[in-house]
């Protein structure tokens, strides 16, 4: 973590909470939690609510689909922490790690539905090029995704285009696979609130 305040500038109550998280998970406090819990009235409280709605709110996309979108956007941004975190959540939600790995390594041949593939393709372009046009959207609609599904996917994309930038700008520590497994279990049980 590049800013000491984000690493250890929290209130005493928050530090006590981190100690409980460490004891229960037997893992270090994830740095994303340290960011969200630092002066939460400035950023974290609103960001948590937005992310929870995007990732766990009502949607025609499953939780596994939305976690896959999060991992896919993170891959487009080359954000190691978020790729690993959301690959683990998606794999656990789908109970299919091979599918998630296939999508992230080569989208076009992975065994997923046409609407999801077209949506991921559009999210990848939006993330890499920062813009998409009406033809890009027509392609997603023609593949069978509804307008509502596209808006839901854009909400996921917004959340992770924000968090990827912060994870890399502040340089979140990237722990080992056990920490991401513990994080995935927590995020599937409790969501982002």
């Amino acid at each position: 973590m590049r800013l000491a305040v984000l690493d250890r500038g929290h209130s005493l109550g928050t530090k006590a909470l981190f100690a409980i998280i460490r004891a229960v998970s037997r893992q270090p406090t994830p740095e994303v939690v340290k960011l969200i819990m630092y002066r939460p009235e400035f950023f974290g409280t609103h960001m948590k609510a937005l992310t929870h709605e995007a990732m766990r709110g009502p949607s025609a996309w499953s939780i596994g689909d939305r976690e896959l979108m999060a991992a896919f956007v993170s891959k487009a941004n080359e954000c190691e922490f978020c790729i690993k975190a959301h690959t683990a959540v998606s794999a656990r939600a789908y109970r299919d790690a091979a599918k998630v790995a296939a999508v992230l390594s080569y989208l076009e041949t992975a065994d997923i539905g046409t609407p999801l593939r077209a949506t991921l393709r559009m999210l990848g372009k939006l993330t890499r090029e920062h813009t998409v046009d009406a033809d890009d959207m027509r392609a997603v609609l023609a593949a069978g995704a509804s307008r509502e599904q596209i808006e839901d996917a854009l909400a996921v994309c917004f959340a992770f285009n924000t968090m990827n930038r912060l994870a890399d700008a502040f340089e979140f520590f990237v722990p080992g696979p056990k920490a991401f497994e513990a994080g995935a279990k927590f995020l599937l049980a409790r969501g982002y609130r």
Binding site: A4, Y38, A54, C79, M122, L126, R165, L166, A169
Partner: protein, 102 residues
């Protein structure tokens, strides 16, 4: 469908208009990635376009220019949300154009 409209509005209003350690002008400039002086200009441009290339030196330069860690925290948050917002708005406009709405 999920609805992040209210949450997005509340988030942007909070970081740009609410209390903070950085000036409102600097937070707005970071959000827009426009009009910041160096070295913040370079830092926020990286956050916006290629955040994985941000280095310890970029953050150290911002601190050496006289900004506290809290100000750097706020300005980087504003830069990240600003870019995600421009992407989101571009995509919604494209979707409206594709469905002839708006």
């Amino acid at each position: 469908m999920s609805d992040i409209r209210q949450a997005r509005k509340a988030l942007a209003a909070r970081i740009l208009e609410g209390d903070g350690r950085a000036s409102h002008a600097d937070r707005r400039a970071a959000f827009d990635n426009e009009g910041l002086a160096e070295p913040l200009s370079s830092l926020i441009d990286k956050v916006t376009r290629r955040a994985h290339k941000v280095t310890d030196e970029d953050i150290a330069a911002a601190r050496a220019s006289g900004l506290s860690e809290d100000k750097v925290f706020e300005i980087v948050v504003c830069g990240a949300i600003g870019q995600a917002t421009r992407q989101y708005d571009s995509a919604l406009a494209a979707l409206d154009a594709a469905t002839k709405k708006g």
